[in-house]
């Protein structure tokens, strides 16, 4: 009972502290998202599109890497995936450097501190991506004057024609949401693990490289490939990258990471 109380209080503190600490960075991120959303939305006015199309255009990748010539860099995918990873990592590093001693000596257990961070990573990613999707929806709907999420003629002519199976806009949006959230949770977990061994900047660069591999390597066991909608089985049946696979893979990897982080952290010196 008491232990559960500590877990809850520490997690609540993490949530409150992280929002207060990072509020200006989050504000900048959402401002950039608003600009990007507007840039994707305005051309759709003449193409009879709606918010569902904006989700796709803004969050999609560029599909499987077949040959280097003509392959584009998925700029929006990189920006969103790694800016959010930066926001998450920034708090984890700041809190470890400035507060871990004070918190651990009060709760008396290293494991509780790291467990709270593992839970925070999951909840914070869900919150940040929920915010992202709400912002995209609101801005695009307001600019288009259309709040529906039904299949527009743009959706039917352009998006459905690229798809490998018959899809609907809600299915597409949910796939995008869960794909991004799962990927971000796993990448954040990998970052947390790396920080047990390396400096935070080195760890972040490692995760950046690991995440970027999915742009050039078409292998479904890579952690960041799960947020790439054009590589999913909605648009490609050859590589069998389904949302179910992504979910099972990400949950398994995160639990594995949590177990390793737990084992390492309980024997780690707290130097900051």
């Amino acid at each position: 009972m008491m232990r559960g109380y500590f877990h809850f209080k520490l997690f609540l503190r993490d949530l409150t502290y992280s929002h207060s600490y990072g509020k200006y960075k989050y504000f900048i991120f959402y401002c950039i998202v608003i600009i990007l959303t507007a840039a994707k939305t305005l051309p759709l006015k003449e193409l009879d599109g709606n918010s569902a199309d904006v989700f796709f255009l803004l969050l999609k990748d560029v599909g499987y890497f077949i040959q280097s010539s003509g392959y584009e860099i998925p700029v929006n995918w990189i920006f969103i995936q790694f800016f959010i990873l930066f926001l998450i990592s920034d708090f984890l590093v700041h809190d470890a450097e400035t507060n871990s001693s004070y918190l651990i000596l009060r709760i008396k257990r290293r494991e509780q501190y790291i467990l709270s961070k593992l839970i925070w990573i999951v909840i914070q990613n869900i919150l940040v991506y929920s915010g992202l999707f709400i912002v995209i929806y609101m801005i695009s709907a307001l600019l288009l004057g259309d709040f529906s999420l039904e299949a527009s003629s743009y959706f039917q002519n352009t998006i459905q024609s690229q798809a490998a199976i018959l899809i609907n806009p809600i299915q597409l949006i949910l796939h995008l949401f869960f794909g991004y959230v799962l990927t971000s949770i796993v990448l954040s977990g990998i970052f947390l693990l790396f920080t047990q061994f390396f400096a935070s900047t080195v760890s972040f660069c490692f995760v950046l490289i690991l995440g970027s591999l999915s742009i050039f390597i078409d292998w479904k066991w890579l952690p960041a490939i799960h947020s790439m909608i054009l590589k999913s089985n909605l648009f490609d049946l050859e590589h069998h990258l389904s949302l179910t696979f992504s979910f099972v893979y990400s949950v398994f990897v995160y639990i594995l990471l949590a177990f390793v982080i737990f084992s390492v952290y309980r024997k780690t010196d707290i130097l900051k």
Partner: protein
């Protein structure tokens, strides 16, 4: 070293090696409640590392640390009752001093709002001050850091460079506060590189060099 029948904090042959470097070397200490112990040494002499080890934050490579009869790493990971100031805590800029301390105190729920306010008053700050932490001067930040270390009335108080950013008036107030805590039978450890300040505050001084205690002496005329 001060020796009585009841040694509160006992360190035996403490050695810490990190990345093949000896950080602490064969440290032996016997410290009691009701005294203020000063640790002096240049930057990098091992003061902060020793304090971290005494708190259980770093694990000894060799040797043992026993606090209040509890051996760290064996009976418990951390001392049962400890308050520390090792560098500034990451207080939130958008919170008042009271709100920041309340957030920390809520973790173990040992104390109520009145005790938090009392700790803030003891370090010379106003608990009703509505200014946010970002508006605090460096001296006020240091005082708030000391308040968080003492607010739960721990038996063992460890303060690393507590006089940083304090003016002469602040140092006098700190001295008064430490004497009050000493009279309440607390075991107080402070570190500083400043000899005068440390001698002004302590009953007994330990000198560290390259991770080793090379000398120690008692101070005369200190109220005990």
């Amino acid at each position: 070293m001060a020796v009585t029948d009841q040694i509160y904090l006992k360190v035996e042959h403490l050695t810490k090696v990190m990345k093949q470097q000896i950080i602490l070397k064969d440290i032996n200490l016997e410290l009691n409640k009701g005294f203020i112990y000063g640790f002096r040494g240049k930057n990098g002499s091992g003061k902060t590392m020793l304090f971290r080890a005494l708190c259980g934050l770093i694990l000894p490579t060799e040797g043992t640390i026993t606090v209040g009869g509890i051996q760290l790493g064996k009976d418990a990971s951390f001392p049962p009752s400890v308050g520390v100031l090792i560098e500034y805590p990451g207080f939130l800029n958008s919170y008042t001093g009271f709100q920041n301390l309340k957030m920390l105190a809520s973790l173990n729920n040992f104390i109520d709002d009145n005790r938090i306010k009392e700790a803030i008053r003891l370090v010379g700050l106003d608990p009703e001050d509505k200014r946010k932490y970002r508006k605090y001067s460096l001296g006020m930040k240091q005082r708030l850091g000391i308040a968080q270390a003492i607010m739960e009335e721990p038996d063992l108080i460890i303060l690393d460079e507590p006089t940083n950013a304090l003016d002469s008036e602040g140092i006098e107030e700190l001295k008064k506060l430490l004497l009050e805590l000493k009279n309440k039978n607390k075991c107080i450890l402070i570190a500083s590189h400043d000899k005068e300040e440390l001698e002004f505050l302590s009953d007994e001084i330990f000198i560290l060099e390259k991770g080793k205690i090379v000398d120690h002496y008692h101070l005369q005329g200190v109220e005990k």
